[in-house]
């Protein structure tokens, strides 16, 4: 596939931010995917020449500002998640679809787990089981990203 334009990447980031800022209702809050996270992780794996850990970290900072939480919390978890994604970036293209799904769920689960840890350190209460639900909606969003912007790059058949 052709390399993605930098403008496309920035535009999707902006759209993700707008969805992040969208005022969700009560039920929506429970199943709301982490828009920015999914979009940034997708680009880190798909277009590492545009989107590096720094960009993902910045996106996390924007999420921090939008939620009004401690500055740097989401940024930290986003950066770690992006790094975990990058470690296996070369191998991801060899995964079949289900392995890839598992890997993506693992990534987003790690991010949510890290946020939970940080919040618990800060004296937050343990949330109920619905806290894990957004990982599934993250996966749906991930599939949407793949539909729109193509599968993760596969090596060409030589």
């Amino acid at each position: 596939m052709k390399p993605v334009k930098f403008g496309t990447f920035l535009f999707t980031m902006l759209i993700g931010l707008i969805f992040q800022l969208y005022p969700w209702s009560n039920a929506g809050i429970i199943i709301r995917p982490d828009f920015l996270l999914v979009i940034m992780i997708y680009w880190v794996l798909q277009a590492p020449y545009h989107c590096n850990i720094g960009w993902v970290w910045f996106a996390g900072l924007l999420v921090d500002l939008s939620t009004g939480s401690l500055l740097g919390q989401h940024a930290l978890t986003f950066a770690i998640t992006a790094f975990l994604g990058l470690i296996y970036q070369r191998r991801l293209v060899l995964f079949n679809r289900w392995q890839l799904y598992l890997y993506v769920i693992f990534l987003f689960g790690v991010q949510r787990g890290l946020i939970l840890l940080l919040k618990l350190f800060a004296g937050g209460e343990l949330p109920d089981w619905t806290y894990g639900l957004p990982v599934l909606s993250d996966l749906i969003l991930w599939q949407c990203m793949i539909i729109w912007f193509g599968e993760l790059t596969r090596p060409k058949k030589l």
């Binding site: 596939m1 390399p3 902006l14 931010l17 707008i18 969805f19 992040q20 800022l21 969208y22 005022p23 969700w24 209702s25 009560n26 809050i29 798909q46 277009a47 590492p48 020449y49 590096n52 850990i53 720094g54 970290w57 996390g60 924007l62 500002l65 939008s66 939620t67 009004g68 939480s69 401690l70 500055l71 740097g72 919390q73 940024a75 930290l76 950066a79 770690i80 992006a82 790094f83 990058l86 470690i87 970036q89 070369r90 919040k119 800060a122 004296g123 937050g124 209460e125 343990l126 949330p127 806290y131 790059t153 090596p155 060409k156 030589l158």
Partner: protein
């Protein structure tokens, strides 16, 4: 041939060591350190609030854009409300307005009488706060904190520490103010505490948010205390932030365990936080001039509000708590203006038994057993 293969490769297919820039791991280390430093600075100092302000102002157009579909949906919905519905609503509102007006007339009379009696007793004028109408923009985006965002900010002269109420009762307190929006910490949040009074017998206590569910907790009341399920809790007005007499919660559960001298009292907030659109933001009342008496000043309890927004403390100190109309420690003197010793000290603890200010996280060490009946 190898060269040919190499030329066919896309840029993103070049091996990792061809990618420009530092290695991912060193990048990760750098950004992790940066975030940890930021978290520490944000938690402990007030340097980053300006950055926050600046960013949130920059994000404001996007927020408006994001909430536009909702607005349109609501407007379209309003537009297509049926004629009958409107007539019915109008009728109900008129009825309500009649009832309210009658009550208001009585209120005016009682107010005048009250003021008169207070002047007879040389007491302080009651605090009647002014209010700004605000609209809830969105519920918090963070499942851990009970925060809602309002569409009023520093442009509308909102300051941190102001109380927020709806038509039923207390909703919470403004804890962070941006240019166009402000954040309200709900009374169910762990960080917030609110001085209350049981309406039935005027017993004073402090309610703390529990943070998890939609409940409040009233700790440090002995098991023998006179409190029943269904008791209504109202603000006592001794903190100077919340005017007295606003409904806060209803007691739903009282558990008495053998191993604790205190009862576990759970109550449910009266103000429906999840379903209202408009709230009132009350002005923090100017505290009346207080004679500074240095004798018999109380020893103030240690205030270790660690993760309390510093601005709230400042505001609370600035608008130091109003005078308790019924100091339980001393008999009321009829010919001298009641002055609360210690109220002039820059502390956030107004009275001997008011305990913690709103938002304080100190628990227990300040709450003396409240006098069951005031003089």
């Amino acid at each position: 041939m190898l060269k040919g293969i190499h030329q066919q490769l896309d840029p993103q297919e070049s091996p990792a060591f061809f990618i420009q820039g530092p290695k991912p791991f060193s990048r990760l280390m750098f950004f992790c350190t940066l975030s940890l430093v930021m978290m520490a600075v944000d938690a402990r100092f007030d340097y980053l609030s300006q950055v926050r302000q600046w960013f949130s102002t920059a994000l404001h157009p996007l927020e408006v854009l994001a909430s536009a579909p909702n607005e349109w949906g609501r407007n379209i919905n309003t537009y297509f409300t049926s004629h009958n519905q409107l007539i019915q609503d109008n009728f109900t509102l008129k009825q309500q307005s009649l009832i309210d007006n009658a009550a208001l007339q009585r209120l005016a009379t009682v107010d005048a009488e009250n003021a008169h009696l207070r002047t007879l007793l040389a007491g302080d004028a009651p605090i009647i706060p002014q209010a700004t109408l605000g609209e809830v923009l969105h519920m918090g985006r963070d499942p851990f904190s009970n925060i809602i965002t309002l569409n009023r900010g520093s442009r509308h002269h909102i300051t941190p520490g102001q109380a927020v109420v709806d038509e039923q009762g207390v909703v919470g307190q403004i804890t962070r103010v941006y240019t166009f929006t402000s954040e309200v910490t709900l009374i169910t949040d762990k960080k917030l505490s609110i001085p209350i009074q049981i309406e039935r017998n005027q017993l004073r206590a402090i309610a703390f948010g529990e943070g998890k569910r939609n409940t409040l907790d009233i700790p440090y009341l002995p098991t023998s205390v006179d409190i029943k399920v269904g008791d209504k809790l109202v603000t006592s007005g001794i903190d100077g932030v919340y005017p007295a007499g606003l409904a806060v919660a209803v007691v739903t559960q009282i558990k008495q365990s053998q191993d604790s001298p205190f009862a576990k009292i759970i109550s449910r907030p009266i103000a429906g936080v999840n379903n209202h659109k408009h709230v009132l933001i009350l002005k923090v009342p100017e505290s009346p001039a207080i004679n500074q008496s240095s004798e018999n000043r109380q020893v103030l309890p240690r205030n270790n509000a660690q993760h309390l927004d510093q601005s709230v403390v400042e505001v609370l100190q600035k608008n130091n708590a109003a005078v308790d109309p019924h100091p339980a420690t001393e008999t009321p003197v009829l010919d001298a203006p009641s002055s609360e010793p210690g109220a002039a000290t820059p502390a956030v603890t107004p009275g001997p038994e008011t305990g913690t200010p709103t938002g304080n996280t100190t628990q227990g060490n300040t709450l003396a057993p409240a006098a069951p009946e005031h003089p």
